[in-house]
Amino acid sequence: MNTVIPGLVLRYVLLYTRNAVRLIELIFWPAVDLMVWGFLTMYLQQNTSGQFPQFITFLIGAMIFWDVLFRAQQGLAISFLEDVWTRNLLNVFVAPVRPVDYIAATAIVGLLRVAVTVLVLMLLAWGAYAFRLWDFQVLLIPFFANLLVFGWSLGMVSVSLILRWGQAAESLAWAVPFLIQPVSAVFYPVSVLPPWLQPVAMALPSTHVFEGMRAVLAGNPLPHGELLAACGLNVVYLAAASVLFAITLQSARERGLLVKIATH
């Protein structure tokens, strides 16, 4: 039985559970975001004479969905940085760990991060705004899964950037998802974007997920077209991110960058 992936996952779980700050970080920022967006939408609803009755549903749903993408990406990027910060990268890369084991383990950590954050947000949204995400759960699960996969692709891109440019690129671990946020139609429909930007938005799986999410939350049937587009694009992005990671890792080995990052 291959125990490499369980070993790596155990390591990251212990890193989180033995550090209260890391655990709080998993919950604190999403909770703050939820409060801000929740109160903002309540204010808008009160001052627009009920013209936008679904504001709360859309914005809180979007906020929770965005966190799925962000946490999945962070699972990969921050796990890699944890190894850099703890000077443990060398020990991991001289162990019989294949790149695919490493990515799989960090992707599982991303999934665990998402599970914790979404559970907390769902409960908070229910308590504070009577928003019950689980009412839509069966229809929303395929969109959740697509965001998770896209988050992993973005995580691999972030790790590749750090491998290439070292700790100078550390801030990109947080910035990468936000680079695509404006064109992902997270909090507004794609039609709001200028026409020249809409094709860019439609080339991202996240855009189709958020469009599909709004349709489901509005009580419409599952938008199969959006779901298929998200799945197809995700296959392309996951393959491209995997190739980028493999090339960057090989290049880091050739240029000695892996050792440099690991012993910095």
């Binding site: 390591r11 703890t86 443990n88 050792v259 012993t263």
Partner: protein
């Protein structure tokens, strides 16, 4: 040499931006042998070790461990090897036994708990089992790192300055333990150090590297006898000073 060859390095070369860090390095390591790689800072010994570990790709030349090519069979080789360095740490907020359990899983060690406990006892740090790794002294950390390096009963052990920053008493204990496991388990070891006493005491054979090239090779006594120096340390100091003058 009695044991079979477990590591064969042939004409290894590494260039960084056109500058050679390792040039035409060739050697063999036999089972149960401790081979020291010596050299001043920047001589190329750590680069050579990193290439053997698959962390750096060679520009040319070949590396074969247990008859398998590196990096072609990287995972299979690393399953039978291990590494300890003064420059690599274990996560500081985990307990000692948690860190060792994680690496026990990564290396697929059977009966992990018993193996961890026996290694902690061997290195006389059984009392540190439930301590936070980041709160250990450097001597204690080094011995915990050595536990990690011995977890999978490696046939090839690479040690990059394992006694750096240790006091003489702990350094002596570490050397004694390494000699003991090398005798009992027939481990082949590749050892780099700046501490010539370390090298003279522990190594069966040494390779002196300078500017990425092999300068001298043989038993520590042979290397000293063939040079005009009194000891390895004297040879090392003269080389280091000559290097600094030429820079």
């Amino acid at each position: 040499m009695a044991g079979d060859v477990i590591l064969e390095v042939s004409n290894l070369r590494k260039e960084f931006e056109g500058r050679a860090a390792v040039e035409d390095l060739s050697f063999r390591l036999h089972r149960g042998e401790i081979l020291g790689l010596l050299g001043v800072n920047g001589a190329g010994k750590t680069t050579a070790m990193n290439m053997i570990l698959g962390l750096i790709s060679p520009t040319s030349g070949s590396i074969r461990a247990f008859g398998m090519p590196m990096p072609g069979r990287r995972t299979a080789i690393l399953r039978r090897a291990n590494f300890c360095s003064a420059y690599a740490a274990l996560p500081s907020n985990l307990l000692v036994h948690q860190n060792l359990t994680v690496f026990g899983l990564i290396y697929g060690v059977k009966d992990r708990r018993r193996r961890i406990d026996s290694l902690l006892e061997l290195l006389e740090i059984g009392h540190l089992r439930d301590r936070v790794t980041g709160q250990l002294s450097s001597g204690e950390s080094t011995r915990v790192n050595l536990c990690k390096a011995l977890l999978n009963r490696p046939e090839l052990l690479m040690l990059d300055e394992p006694t750096a920053s240790l006091d003489p008493d702990i350094a002596d204990k570490v050397r004694t333990t390494l000699r003991q496991v090398q005798r009992e388990e027939g481990i082949g070891m590749l050892y780099t150090s700046h501490n010539m006493r370390d090298i003279e005491e522990i190594c069966d054979r040494v390779i002196f590297i300078h500017h990425g090239k092999v300068l001298a090779e043989g038993t520590p006594a042979d290397v000293v006898a063939r040079s005009k120096h009194e000891s390895l340390e004297e040879m090392f100091i003269e080389l280091a000073r000559a290097t600094r003058r030429s820079e």
